[in-house]
């Protein structure tokens, strides 16, 4: 991926990436959970690895009154708890902490932005941040548009150096196509699309990035990666957790908005995309958009045929009783929000014609797991039909995203003995077994890329809107349908989901 500075002969052969250009990172929502658990620990990790710009500053922007030192002390506790480098290196922390500042303001107060501008200019002079800004929206989504407009109205986006500032936006990118368009419109009114980084932390995961490597760095897969050889694809993101105190948010969102519209659609795109001509942001994102454009829309009157939704009822997890979704705090007792969704999608292009992509996501399923299973067509039942009463199991290639990241292949082998007896065996490659478990956190990679201006692993406007177009039609169909099917917590979803796939002569994998 790209570097940002001119040729420096001393850089040759130095393994770590070149530090990006100087900048100040302004985090809106600096006292929130995301900042403390993910963002600042990831920034400290980058500092520890020497991957932050030499001239760098972090400015926390939030409502609560706080001094710079109080803010630093709180962040130190968070880093001590959540950094992957334990214990904190005091020398590195001291140097890192000197770059942390706090700015108190209401999000809707123009004066707060004016004074932020002045403070950032002061940092430019004192810390060499060179007029470059990266704004991070880590607030509640309801604040996004207001903050974007304030940034534009108060002159924070065009610096005196003429540099176009960047912005990172956390999901959700809207809750429907119109609201996504509204957010994108607000962003486009202030920022150039090249400088908007919509973060989907799934794309920062090593194993997700590995999908492209697996497909395009190995000659053996690409020739069979199409409708001639593949029967269907199953993408499963299962969670064992319930709503965990996010009932209020989740009840307005539901499984399809929370997980399918973003993370699962990204996984689908990476599995289905054509080979990009270069490992460049726009080229890769163009290929993903082509997939989204080729997905056959599910009309509202087709949702019964192509989708199943469920809602967890009480049950037990790991031997302990758990409440049902409607009994969760801040959830309406007659909620119709789905906590489970299964979809069947078709990609109407040459490569994937007729191959169903089954997407399945749910909460309170037996275990937390994310995987992509490519199921190949069954071999002709000619040669071994007489010896093997059961039909031969088709080959399956499983890309495990989490946990135990890796790749497994199921194939048929002869059981040793005097007769021909076939049995499926699994060839398993454990990513952590071969490369150790030292991967950077997803946020680390994504923050580094955003600071460096590399948008390859971020979502573009047209990706978001295309994806909402598909999801909105499904939601419209659900609004006119009966309530979600209940399923017992700790099971793999409602029985209707099994019937849904069995109608096609297939079955869900048990990950």
């Amino acid at each position: 991926m790209k570097t940002t500075l001119g040729t420096n002969p001393l850089r040759e052969g130095i393994s770590t990436q070149q530090a990006p250009e100087p900048c100040a990172l302004v985090i809106f929502g600096a006292t929130g959970d995301l900042t403390h658990r993910k963002l600042v620990p990831a920034l400290y990790n980058l500092a520890h690895e020497g991957q932050l710009p030499q001239s760098f500053a972090i400015v926390g922007f939030a409502r609560r009154p706080k001094t710079h030192d109080e803010f630093r002390a709180e962040l130190r506790d968070s880093v001590a708890q959540f950094s992957r480098f334990q214990p904190i290196n005091p020398g590195v922390w001291d140097s890192f902490a000197q770059a942390i500042f706090y700015h108190q303001s209401e999000f809707a107060d123009a004066k707060g932005y004016k004074s932020l501008d002045g403070f950032l200019r002061k940092l430019d002079a004192e810390r060499g941040t060179a007029g470059r800004r990266l704004f991070y929206l880590a607030t509640a989504p309801t604040e996004f548009i207001g903050i974007i407009e304030q940034l534009g109205a108060n002159g924070l986006v065009q610096s005196g150096t003429g540099t176009q500032q960047r912005i990172i936006v956390e999901k959700p990118f809207g809750r429907s196509l119109p609201t996504a368009e509204e957010l994108n419109h607000a962003l486009a009114g202030v920022f150039d699309e090249r400088h908007i980084f919509r973060i989907d932390h799934y794309l920062g995961k090593e194993t997700v990035q590995n999908i492209l490597a697996l497909r395009f760095a190995n000659e053996i897969f690409e020739p069979i990666w199409n409708q001639k050889y593949i029967d269907h694809v199953q993408i499963t993101v299962a969670e064992s957790l319930g709503v965990e105190g996010r009932g209020g948010y989740y009840d307005q969102s539901g499984a399809i908005r929370d997980m399918v519209q973003n993370h699962m659609m990204q996984l689908l795109c990476l599995v289905a995309a054509e080979p990009p001509t270069a490992l460049e942001a726009e080229v890769i994102r163009d290929e993903k958009v082509k997939v989204l454009r080729a997905i056959r829309p599910i009309a509202p009157d087709q949702v019964q045929q192509f989708t199943v939704r469920g809602q967890y009822a009480s049950g037990s997890m790991a031997g302990k009783p758990v409440p049902g979704y409607r009994e969760e705090k801040s959830v309406s007792p007659d909620s119709r929000t789905e906590t489970f969704v299964a979809l069947k999608l078709f990609i109407d292009n040459w490569r994937w014609a007729g191959v169903p992509f089954y997407l399945r996501h749910g909460k309170r399923l037996p275990k937390g797991v994310a995987e992509i299973a490519i199921q190949f067509k069954a071999p002709p039942a000619v040669l071994f039909a007489a010896e093997s009463p059961e039909p031969l199991q088709p080959n399956v290639l499983v890309l495990r995203i989490q946990p135990d990241e890796g790749i497994a292949v199921r194939m048929n082998a002869k059981v040793p003995g005097n007769v021909i007896n076939l049995q499926p065996v699994k060839m398993d490659f454990l990513y952590g077994g071969s490369f150790g478990a030292r991967s950077p956190e997803a946020y680390e990679r994504l923050l580094h890329d955003a600071i460096a201006g590399d948008s390859t692993l971020f979502t573009r406007r047209d990706e978001v809107e295309r994806s909402w177009r598909i999801i909105d039609a499904i939601i419209a169909g659900w609004d006119a349908s009966p309530a979600p099917f209940p399923y017992e917590s700790g099971t793999w979803g409602p029985p209707e989901a099994d019937e849904f796939i069995e109608r096609d002569g297939r079955e869900w994998r048990r990950p």
Binding site: L5, G6, T7, N8, P9, L10, R11, E12, G13, I14, S15, T16, Q18, A19, P22, H48, G50, Q54, S55, N89, P90, G91, V92, D94, S95, R127, G128, P403, D404, E405, D428, L430, G432, G433, S434, F435, G436, A437, R438
Partner: protein, 363 residues
Amino acid sequence: MPNNAQLETFTAGAETAVDVAQIERQLHELWQLAAESEKDPTQRQITRACLFNFIVLSETEAGATHASEVISTLTSRHPCRAIVLSVASNSPTSELSASISAHCHLAGTGQKQVCCEQIAIHASGQSVAHLGSAVLPLLESDLPTIVWWPGNFLTRMDLFRRLIAVADRVIYDTSTWPDPQPQLAGLVRVLTEYPRCRFTDLSWTRLGLWRKLAAEFFDEPHCCAELMQIRAVDIVHGRGPGAALRAWLYGSWVAAQLRWPLPETRARIHLSERDDRDATSVGILSVAIKTGDATFSVRKNHGESTASATVDMPNACGLPRKRAFWPADDASLLSQELDHPARDPVYEKSLVIAASLLENIRQ
């Protein structure tokens, strides 16, 4: 056929003596038993992993023990088939013996153990000459072979030539060589003789943070221009093993990357030695790169595992920085290097210049 108790001993890391000719068969049977026990849900699942052959040559018993400890750590990130050769050439008796053991680590969520095998071969007296024939059949096919020679291979060229014939990479540590400076010319000759093999000096690896911090000074274009104005590179080093050689390599690196002719390199690189408690672990204590208007300094912070980088110049490029030193034990250095399989032309260029400078001083 081994039994479950033997499998448990093996995967617990204990050594099991084995006939040299039976090593492969014995390992095969043990892994087969491990695969069968995987079907038993009460047993912990075991996965064997191997990404390369890793041959370690040791000429002392303590060296072999240390190698085994390093391999145990290293295999958690770099699974391999480790073959530890313990050589006692001067022994009056000729003996060739072997043992096998495994290094296992919990992987992922802790449900699976990922295991690597270690084969230890002890050769003494005349048997040392036959060591090659014992090692060759043990190499896993289709995987690279990396030789880690903690001592000075230039003094054992007979054995070295036999191993390099199968090696894709040789890793050594000139810090452990007694009086390494006069031997650099010989090292350069070996590198030239085997252009297909990658050579790695862990002394060079230890310079990683020093090189990186210096390089960062010049990332910004207006600082990069200062590179053409360098008048002196002052390097202060301690008295620890290999410290002076590391300082020479560092100065030679600057010269190589800036394409200084040898006479200018000699005039600009200044080394001085200083007593320092930290010197044994770091080698270099400080570096000052001086131009007409500016001084770019990197120094080890006393009593801390950090280095600071500062610039003294009008319109300074960047603020003072402090970075943690990367761990410098053998396992960490090897792990860093194994992450980078390609040849290192920067090291090779720097070595050639360092050898020339030192040759010149000797004359």
